[in-house]
Amino acid sequence: MVNLLEVKDLRTLFHTPEGTVYAVNGISFHIDEGETLAVVGESGCGKSVSMLSILQLITIPPGEIAGGSALYRGQDLITKTEKEMEEIRGQEIAMIFQDPMTSLNPVLTIGRQITESLRTHKQMDQHAAEKRAIELLDMVGISDPEHRLGDYPHQFSGGMRQRVMIAMALACGPSLLIADEPTTALDVTIQAQIVELVTRIRNQVHMAVIWITHDLGVVAGIADRVLVMYAGYIVETAKVADLYENPRHPYTGALLEALPRVDRRRDRRLKSIPGAPPSLLMEPLGCPFANRCEYVIERCKDSNPPLTPVDKDDHSIACWVDVRTGIPR
């Protein structure tokens, strides 16, 4: 069975006046039809850049997709021409972004912003496109959709704008939705609503979802599998329950420990990870997490561990040490 999307050894760089930024350093993962994959990591770890690279949405220059492949239904997206990508974007793979305020065009009506994908990809006429747009707005929970077609983004609240974005993304029925931190800019109650909305829709239409976030709390509610990224590398992948019960990479463990919990003793300090993420201007030598890791050994400083499976299925980590025992693997 061919995966819906299979990414192999993707590398992306940015050439800046200060030097070359190694944003994505050879990541490999896959996602199947109808599956929900969460991509977790702190700011700057390369989660957004990797997804933008797959859709060829990186500005080149200063960006450069330096290697690897992204096979969508067997076809490599990295080598496709711009025209070919225009067919894929919106229609096969759709994307929604973090800040709904700036991600919608302020001078075009939302009706226009929805119908234009329909008219471009499905060759619908204006009337049919508007009908479909109204259906979509209804599906995402916008009340009185007929009259809101002619409204502009600034006339909606933050949560509603994100719903509009979702309607826009779903318009042409894509098989894969990439959601780049869609709830980070929203307040907590709205967050829950959006997560619930996406979950409902993906169940309805059997759509695969890649959900990028730095919030481990959200992941638990929506994902089947999780990727943990750090400094442009994938450091752990696992099924979601497995990740929470059995984190096997020191970074994942530290992330989970750092989550504030209601049931923790009140006089205990919040645990944070000492140190700072490495500067991406240097091609890392050795494991990028080594200088902050509790379990670091000599080997970690000299060579970068590859992503290898652990004894359980579908669970891989990039580490030289077994965190359960402290013994090198």
Binding site: G275, S279, M282, G286, P288, A290, E294, K301
Partner: protein
């Protein structure tokens, strides 16, 4: 606690930082990177040398020496820029004219900078009704095109000031008049910039601290806030020189500026369209010099703007 090993070839953002430099050094570094600005600086220096240094080789008498038998000669070795309608050497006149044009440019900027800072600082600092009145006046002045005001003021105040003797040269009173009226019609842009600076800096804590220690307002304005606004003032003043040189050129071209026999690049172009075809060297060289001067100042100003405010975008 993990030991921090120095062998790791991973640098934290801290370690990547360059050694600390003073603000001026940083600004100079950024300035040097801006190629057009460096070119502008070089060209401008050459022009200044031309205008000032040229007077070592050619006397003012020579510039004003007219021999109508030599009128309207095309450029030759004797007269590299040709001669004008009454036989004066154009090259010499561009040298002395350049001195006047540059001088007017600089002094007018001094006038407009002082006015602009005063108005802007008072409006921004005191706010309220002072701000309201001053800004209404500023807006009113901005709405009347500069050239119109210049023309009227030049015509009506033109003859009022007598000749001056400075630096061994005789300046007709019209030079002072021109400087004043250009200054009086150009301060508004700087006033708005200074006011904006004051409005934002006024809320900063160092102002609060100064007030708490009983510093009088005047000191707060001139010794605390103003030095922090230097960057936009410098940029504005630099570009203001270009504007003043152009303003002088316009008004002299219209015959209302500096009066002959004192030459300026602008008044050398007065009546030039009579000689459009027959003697193009009459208008070409002064015009070219104006263009080169203003252009290099504009490059310079652009570079300064980038160097002093790294957050502003390069266009």
């Amino acid at each position: 606690m993990p030991e921090k090993s120095t062998k790791i070839a991973i640098l934290t953002p801290d370690e990547l930082e360059t050694p600390p430099l003073s603000l001026t050094q940083l600004a100079w570094r950024r300035f040097k990177r801006h190629r057009p600005a460096m070119i502008g600086l070089v060209v401008l220096s050459l022009l200044v040398i031309y205008a000032l240094g040229g007077s070592i080789f050619l006397s003012e008498k020579f510039a004003n020496f007219n021999d109508t038998s030599q009128r309207l000669l095309t450029p030759t070795i004797d007269h590299p820029f040709g001669t004008d309608s009454i036989g004066r050497d154009v090259l010499a006149r561009t040298i002395y004219g350049g001195q006047i044009s540059l001088l007017i440019g600089l002094t007018a900027v001094v006038v407009e900078t002082i006015l602009g800072i005063l108005v802007g600082a008072l409006a921004g600092f005191y706010g309220g009704i002072v701000d309201n009145i001053l800004m209404r006046i500023t807006e009113a002045m901005l709405n009347i095109p500069e050239i119109f005001l210049l023309i009227v003021m030049a015509k009506y105040f033109g003859g009022k000031i007598p000749e001056l003797d400075l630096f061994g040269r005789t300046f007709s009173g019209s030079v002072v008049v021109i400087v004043l009226i250009i200054g009086l019609t150009s301060w508004m842009y700087l006033a708005r910039i200074v006011r904006a600076q004051f409005l934002s800096l006024k809320e900063n804590e160092f102002v609060l601290a100064a007030r708490a220690t009983g510093t009088p307002n005047i000191d707060i304005i001139f010794r605390h806030i103003l030095p922090n606004s230097v960057a936009p003032i410098v940029v504005s003043a630099t570009l203001g020189v270009a504007n003043a040189i152009l303003a002088e050129a316009y008004i002299s071209f219209l015959g209302l500026g500096v009066q002959p026999p004192t030459a300026t690049w602008g008044n050398m172009l007065d009546g030039a369209n009579n000689y459009l075809e027959s003697a193009p060297w009459l208008w070409f060289f002064p015009g070219l010099l104006i263009l080169l001067t203003v252009l290099s100042i504009n490059f310079l100003g652009d570079g300064l703007r980038d160097a002093l405010d790294p957050r502003s975008r390069t266009v």
